[in-house]
Symmetry: C2
């Protein structure tokens, strides 16, 4: 239904009439760096079980995007990271998501898989499993990074990722 004074359909609870606004959600994560390597996590959960990802997850209430990014890096990779700024930002309008990735350096090498990861490892550029990356946002962030690293200049990169319509 469209609530009074609004101009869009909203989900309204049949029991209590509470309007449950459904707005895009933020996913926040990091690009963890150590020397010439980046850290990736092999997913232990669906979707994309067994594929490689950067640590990232849904931002929670009460935290900043930076805090969420660091928290997810700990939860998924048991890694401690010193952030050095927002790096990539993606809109995925078809699935109502906005992704943030922060660049950062590992502060120690005591990392390892959290409950949502099968394996956590450092990769040099030529070792990146490009064909086994979990999501386009991961591929694009790594492509930007290896390109920008040549000039040691990392401006914020913003991009929309629009999926082609599925064949019927």
């Amino acid at each position: 239904m469209i609530p009074e004074g609004d101009n869009r359909h909203r989900h309204v609870c049949n029991t209590c009439n509470t309007i449950h606004y459904q707005n895009p959600r933020i996913i926040t994560g990091t690009l963890p760096i150590h020397e010439d390597k980046v850290l990736l996590c092999k997913r232990a959960i669906e979707p994309r079980y067994g594929l490689w990802t950067l640590p990232a997850g849904f931002m929670e209430n009460g935290e900043t995007t930076e805090q969420g990014a660091s928290r997810e890096t700990w939860e998924e990779a048991r890694a401690n990271i010193a952030l050095s700024g927002l790096y990539t930002l993606f809109n995925l309008p078809q699935i109502n998501q906005v992704y943030f990735f922060y660049r950062g350096h590992l502060t120690d090498l005591d990392f390892g898989p959290g409950p949502e990861s099968l394996e956590v490892a450092l990769f040099e550029e030529h070792q990146i499993p490009w064909e086994q990356l979990a999501f386009p946002v991961i591929t694009r962030t790594l492509q930007h990074y290896f390109s920008d690293r040549k000039h040691d200049h990392y401006p914020v990169r913003t991009e929309d990722i629009i999926r082609p319509p599925r064949a019927r």
Copy 2:
């Protein structure tokens, strides 16, 4: 309650057991520019009725942050704008909001108040009603802009706005 496999309290509907995740919401807007002036809107709604703001509002499902920013600029200021990139980004963790502002230039001068605005006007720097701005994110975006304009260089500015605890 804390759903199985989760580690945080979530709102769960008593009737249907649906878990209503409550995540931060995105507010997206613009800094509309025409020559040496910026466009501001006088709020016709609470909170901050009668104070001046940049056009901005809650991002909706199915749109990008850029599309939402342009839509809000039309809804609140009946203004058409050509965006020139993300400019400021704010975390407001105490109220679970993340703000995006895009710089942009008005493509014509046929603007005017939408239903949520009392008045819409262009201001030169010395005309900005600094004491009647609606929110800290508006003040900070304008301060960054007038400072960055001196060098004609507009990197993405990210900031956390943490409110001091209220006196009891």
